[in-house]
Amino acid sequence: MIAFNKYYNHFNLLSSVLIVVSLLLLIFKGLNFGIDFKGGTLIELRASDSKINVSSLRDRFNQMDLGDVSVKKFGNDTDFLVKFENKDNKKNIIEEIKANLDKSFGNNYDFRRVENVGPKVSAELLKSGVIAISLSLALMLIYIWIRFEWQFSLGAILALFHDVIVTLGVFSLFSLEINLSIIAAVLTIVGYSMNDTVVIFDRVRENLRKYSDIKIFELTNISINETLSRTIITSATTLLALLAIYFFGGEILKGFSLAMILGVVFGTYSSIYIANTVLVRLRVSQKTVLREDDQNKLN
């Protein structure tokens, strides 16, 4: 049996630090919102001429008076991603850019993807993204509240917030782009993290009923160990699937799969080291679950 409980305090401290640092990053550095949430134009361009590179493209685009332009390589050497604000939401901007690029590069390039999100739509998308995440957290809260005693609910929700905040903190730290698919990833993380926590909690509750003489500090450790091989196997297969997406699924899914990978890692960690420690700190005992059982009987 691994003594996970030996490190409860250490990892609680680490998690607190992680959450504080993440929150500071989110407040002061902020998130790198993509055009989905900030508005603007994105062009994915493939070149068939080595003359076309990041600097020559940047030169061209900077001459076009488009505001802040970012040009980046996208995957391999011939693919580029160009993003700009398109502040005035000009109508025929793509045609103008094409005409302008034709002059310098002829026909040696191709627009593979064009996305243009107006300011109104981006504000709505951001709003619905925030609503979606809040709603999912609220639903999880309600679900867990129905299923477990409040001490368990608190533990699960703290673990959930930890996972979401720290994952977003990592995105802020490395200025990774937040777009629509990241919202999908965060929601899936919420589901996954909850799932992981609930499986361990299920066992804790079962053991609480079974053993009256074991303290919760020991009991959580026993429960974690009993469910450990399931935790490892499920995390491992999920991570294997996600790594396959990350490395082979193409550039578009990179951010999405990275967020999910982070979420699965944090989610697994938090089910062990946050959710359970909350139970310990709240001194959950056999009484906690039995009281509820009695109530259920009365009803």
Partner: protein, 517 residues
């Protein structure tokens, strides 16, 4: 329950085979209609354009209020009430009446069966609201009135958009209402999205009006620019004929002048008016105005009674074709703005499909190898279940002709990774039961019953996330929610029916084996 009845086994087998067949219809062509279904590829996979258009209703409201001022004036004239100082400001009509008439006017507007101010009997709310500000009376559209107005201009706009898109001839466009002032246009596999964009961006309001120097024209005048943006002309507000009078418009080559023109045919009313105007207006310039800009202003040389004519204006063949198309399909009730556009080229779509399939194959292989190494015979059972699960998932998506997107493929891969969870929970539980239980069959039973709540919890939490995503997400993300959500159900089916069947066969054949897992 170790025992599976023959009927149950038959049912499970038939069900699985059915979905595998449906899934394989994506690869083969079946003659039978039931099997001839395919998963739709999202725009991000097959290439195409997604356009979100917003209707700018302000001009419509202005126009309606303008018409309303005349209606109000005439209505009260019959009742011998004089309306003074009527004007429109910021979507409100203001006017004055004498204090004696005020009550009557207010009553007319607030009467439940008012013929000036309808809707009350149907919606319990009038079309217009009236308020006595003290200085004057203020009339504006009520909430209900605005909703009706927006809905009707959306209905008209969607019809025109559909006609224009159809004229361009893209395959299977998807045109849908969004809210009460937006239209969603999905154009799969379009070569030239810019052309559609420019066609949808034009209102195509065509009018024929005389150029005049008479500042005191009875209908009022306005200064309009020519298409080239350089010259200007003063044009009467009196409309001779408008786009509504056109029956047909076609691009033509005028061999005499060696230029491309648009020839048009007028309806009966239009032909009559056009004939009359051209007979009285010989020598005058007739301006052809499209969306507030003059295309050309030829001098009338002859009476045109035939009901057909032509527009010249330095067109190329392409611009003439597009103008003819716009005129044929009719004018939009209000200008449209493209507020969101996402276009994916077909080769990027194909690349995404390939990458998604490779990731799926590799992810699948990794999981299968891992499970086999870790669990041996039970791993094998899980793997067979996983394969059947994948086919059932594809089968369900095919049956409902769901739209598969790139994030949707990611959802399938993720399902593969997470689908083992339920089996693992069960097998781990059986292992634990075996520590205290020598009877393999009892341990097997215990494993299934005692893991049930955990499995249910795990899947409900994921399902909740998927449901929210489905309702809140847009386009590609929705595809992810669909595969993730459907994946949960197929996983539960395959775990509790297929995997359990195999496990029970294995356990009953090895009742007395020492080390079961």
């Amino acid at each position: 329950m170790l025992y599976f009845s023959k009927l149950r086994i038959l049912f499970i087998t038939l069900f699985s085979v059915l979905f595998i067949l449906i899934a394989s219809s994506n690869l083969f062509k079946f003659d039978d209609n039931f099997f001839d279904k395919k998963i739709n590829l999202g725009l991000d996979l097959q290439g195409g354009s997604y356009l979100l258009l917003e209707i700018d209703n302000e001009p419509v409201i202005e126009q309606k209020l303008q018409n309303l001022t005349t209606t109000i004036r005439n209505y009260f004239k019959e009742k011998n009430i004089k309306i003074n100082n009527i004007k429109i400001d910021n979507q409100h009509i203001f006017f004055n009446v004498t204090d004696n008439d005020k009550e009557t006017v207010l009553d007319v507007f607030q009467d439940e069966n008012s013929d000036l101010n309808p809707y009350y009997p149907r919606f319990k709310s009038h079309q217009l609201e009236i308020k006595d500000t003290g200085l004057n009376l203020k009339v504006n559209f009520s909430r209900q009135g605005l909703i009706k107005l927006k809905n009707s201009s959306q209905d008209q706009a969607i019809e025109i958009v559909r006609r224009r898109v159809d004229e361009v001839g893209t395959n299977e466009p998807n045109i849908l209402k969004r809210g009460n002032n937006r239209i969603l246009v999905e154009l799969p596999g379009l070569d030239d999205p810019m052309r559609v964009k420019s066609l949808l961006g034009k209102t195509a309001n065509l009018t024929f009006r005389f150029v005049t120097n008479d500042e005191n024209d009875r209908f009022g005048v306005e200064k309009l620019k020519f298409e080239n943006g350089l010259e200007e002309a003063t044009v009467s507000k009196r409309i001779i004929i408008s786009g509504e009078n056109l029956l047909d418009a076609q691009p033509k080559m005028d061999t005499q002048a060696n230029q491309t023109i648009v020839s048009f045919t007028l309806d009966r009313v239009g032909a009559k008016r056009f004939g009359k105007a051209t007979s009285t207006g010989i020598g005058k310039q007739l301006a052809i105005v499209l969306d507030g800009k003059i295309i050309s202003a030829p001098v009338v040389r002859d009476t045109i009674a035939s009901g057909s004519g032509q527009i010249s204006g330095g067109f190329t063949f392409q611009t003439a074709t597009d103008l003819a198309l716009l005129l044929r399909s009719g004018a939009l009730p209000a200008p449209l703005e493209i507020i969101e556009e996402r276009t994916v080229g077909p080769d990027l779509g194909q690349d995404s499909i390939n990458a998604g399939m490779i990731a799926l194959a590799i992810g699948f292989m990794l999981v299968i190898i891992f499970m086999f190494v870790k669990y041996k015979i039970f791993g094998l059972i899980t793997n067979v279940t996983l394969i059947v699960n994948l086919f059932i998932l594809l089968g369900v998506l095919t049956l409902f002709e769901a739209t598969l997107t790139l994030p949707g493929i990611a959802g399938i891969i993720l399902t593969v990774g997470m689908a083992v969870d339920a089996n693992v929970l069960i097998f781990e539980r059986i292992k634990e039961e075996l520590k205290n239980e020598t009877n393999n069959i009892l341990a097997f039973d215990g494993g299934y019953t005692k893991s049930r709540t955990a499995i249910l919890d795990a899947n409900i939490t994921t399902l909740l996330a998927a449901i929210i995503l489905f309702f809140m997400g847009s386009g590609p993300v929705k595809g992810f929610a669909v595969t993730l959500g459907v994946g949960i159900f197929t996983t539960l089916f395959s775990v509790y029916f297929i995997a359990r069947l195999f496990t029970s066969i294995y356990v009953s054949r090895n009742k007395n084996k020492e080390k079961l897992i």
